[in-house]
């Protein structure tokens, strides 16, 4: 059992190495290609400017964010944590008693109240 576990994740580890190696080798190949002149590499200051609309770029991009994103992020965290509890429950649900169903119903209902509150307070609307 444990041996099987390590075998499976061992293969996934190998796949992870390959998955990183493939794009890395393509980037390396592109770098080599610039060395031997297959692709050009002669940057100029104008070329290295970021593209905005065609005229000279003014200022950087590392600016302030709209706080809207923050609200969505909080809602996301709430529901994603909920899911952490829901998945083990769902996996074994087919063999569980009535108590488990009611308990999870209560758990989801509490979160639903929060969601309804956010909707009511117009936090789910982008423009307001």
């Amino acid at each position: 059992m444990l041996e099987d576990y390590f075998r499976q994740y061992g293969l996934i580890a190998i796949l992870a190495l390959v998955a990183v190696a493939v794009p890395t080798s393509m980037l390396a190949f592109s770098w080599l290609a610039s060395r031997v002149g297959i692709r050009p590499a002669n940057p100029t200051p104008v070329k290295l400017e970021t593209y905005e609309c065609g005229v000279e770029t003014i200022g950087g991009a590392w600016n302030r964010f709209n706080f809207r994103y923050y609200l969505y992020a909080i809602l996301f965290v709430i529901f994603d944590v909920e899911v952490v509890f829901l998945y083990p429950w769902a996996t074994k649900f087919i063999r569980l008693e009535l108590f488990a169903l009611i308990e999870m119903g209560v758990f989801v209902a509490i979160l639903l109240v929060g969601w309804a509150y956010a909707w009511r307070k117009r936090d789910l609307e982008w423009g307001s």
Partner: protein, 407 residues
């Protein structure tokens, strides 16, 4: 030599994997046979994703051409089939620029961070009978976890470019991605519940009836959510060409751009494979048990076509519509699905804690009616809400003030 796999391993059953393993086992010691079989599967997976991405670029452009009453690429090779190769060589010979103000290391890491999770996601997908790289007992969770890495990669791209439009694109993409993560994750709970396992192999085996029929709501939510996670057209505000140049990959050129594009199209392949596995019955099909890969490919192809069809049909949504679609439409739908499926499973399961094909048939009947009713109800609700949405006119705009807010 007769090598035994652990009996609780799904790869133990008859299938391509077993064939490979036994063939290697006649020549090599057992642990080496295991490694060799694994390496062959890894080879298939990596090439499947990369070649799949290449084929999709061609298919998508040809089909979009047909949808839009034009021809599409048809010059290079028969039916333009060699177009992806031409594209690759063109991008390889283009200059690869890094903007002067960019965060160079993060900028260079982005293509890797985009392609790698894509290939990693394929590890648990059973692409032929009893054949996958690993039959993890947390397969669905693994998929969801690895697929969220893309979010970080997209934000890395936007942030490191030091380009305003890239930043806008990345911020929008992250907002959309995390919003659609919630209904997607909740919709898969129904699948896990009926299958009684998170292992993808067992999800496939539980599908006496395809889950597309048993849980149409979950399928709808998952397809819409994945469409958004792939940044495809109805939800492509992250790279809306007519608004913010190319979004988060504005500053990318040459091979880095090629890799990002490959990740995008490869994403379509991988997600289609996941949809085919979870909702269309994966490798199960008639005829020989060794033809599983053929049914799997066919089902994946159907889902890919569906994605391209959706892209050709719908116009782009505004960001507020996208958010409303996720939080006010897909989220309640996925919760209704969760409630309905849990009640059905609870009352239909037998003494043994098993669902028979008849039970699945009953669930299909109930859930189809429920799906139509729920979509009609919430669709009506959200349409009214969006229609009355008034955009606040821009006030107090002082020219020359450089506080740019991302919207």
């Amino acid at each position: 030599m007769n090598c035994q796999l652990a009996p609780d391993n799904i790869l133990y059953g008859n299938g391509l994997y077993r064939l490979l393993y036994d063939a290697a086992g006649t020549l090599l010691p057992c642990w080496l046979a295991y490694l060799a079989a694994g390496l062959v599967i890894i080879f298939i997976l990596v090439n499947g994703v990369l070649l799949g991405a290449a084929v999709i670029t061609w298919t998508e452009r040809r089909l979009l051409g047909r949808f839009q009453n034009r021809v599409g690429p048809n010059r290079w090779g028969p039916f333009g089939l060699l177009q992806p190769i031409a594209d690759l060589f063109k991008l390889l010979t283009k200059e690869d620029l890094t903007p002067a103000g960019a965060d160079r290391i993060v900028f260079a890491l982005v293509p890797i961070a985009m392609v790698a999770p894509l290939i990693l996601m394929t590890a648990v997908i059973p692409f032929a009978q009893n054949t996958a790289l690993a039959s993890l007992n947390v397969g669905v969770l693994y998929l969801l976890a690895i697929s969220s890495v893309t979010t970080i990669a997209i934000f890395m791209a936007g942030w490191s470019s030091n380009n305003r439009y890239a930043m806008f694109g990345a911020a929008r993409a992250v907002a959309v991605l995390i919003s659609y993560e919630v209904p997607v994750v909740l919709s898969l709970l129904g699948v896990v519940m009926v299958a009684g396992s998170m292992s993808l192999g067992q999800v496939v085996e539980a599908q006496a009836l395809p889950f597309l029929l048993v849980q149409p709501l979950a399928f709808f939510v998952f397809l819409a959510g994945m469409s958004a996670e792939l940044n495809r057209t109805p939800f492509d505000v992250a790279e809306a060409e007519s608004e913010i140049i190319a979004g988060y990959h504005t500053e990318y050129s040459g091979i880095k751009f090629a890799l990002i594009q490959a990740a995008e199209f490869g994403g379509v392949v991988v997600v289609s494979a996941i949809v085919a596995t979870l909702f269309l019955g994966g490798w199960s099909g008639p005829l020989s048990e060794y033809l599983g890969w053929l049914w799997f490919l066919l089902k994946t192809g159907v889902v890919v076509f569906l994605f391209i069809w959706i892209r050709a049909t719908y116009p782009r949504l505004r960001i507020d519509q996208i958010m409303a679609f996720s939080w006010k439409f897909l989220l309640p739908l996925s919760l209704i699905n969760l409630l309905a499926v849990s009640l059905e499973v609870f009352f239909l399961r037998g003494e043994t804690g098993q669902l028979t094909a008849t039970d699945l048939g009953i669930m299909t009947g109930i859930n189809l009616v429920l799906a139509v009713a729920a979509i009609a109800f919430f669709g009506n609700l959200i349409r009214r809400r969006v229609k009355f949405e008034t955009r606040r006119p821009a006030q107090n705009v002082v020219p020359g003030v450089s506080t740019i807010e991302v919207s």
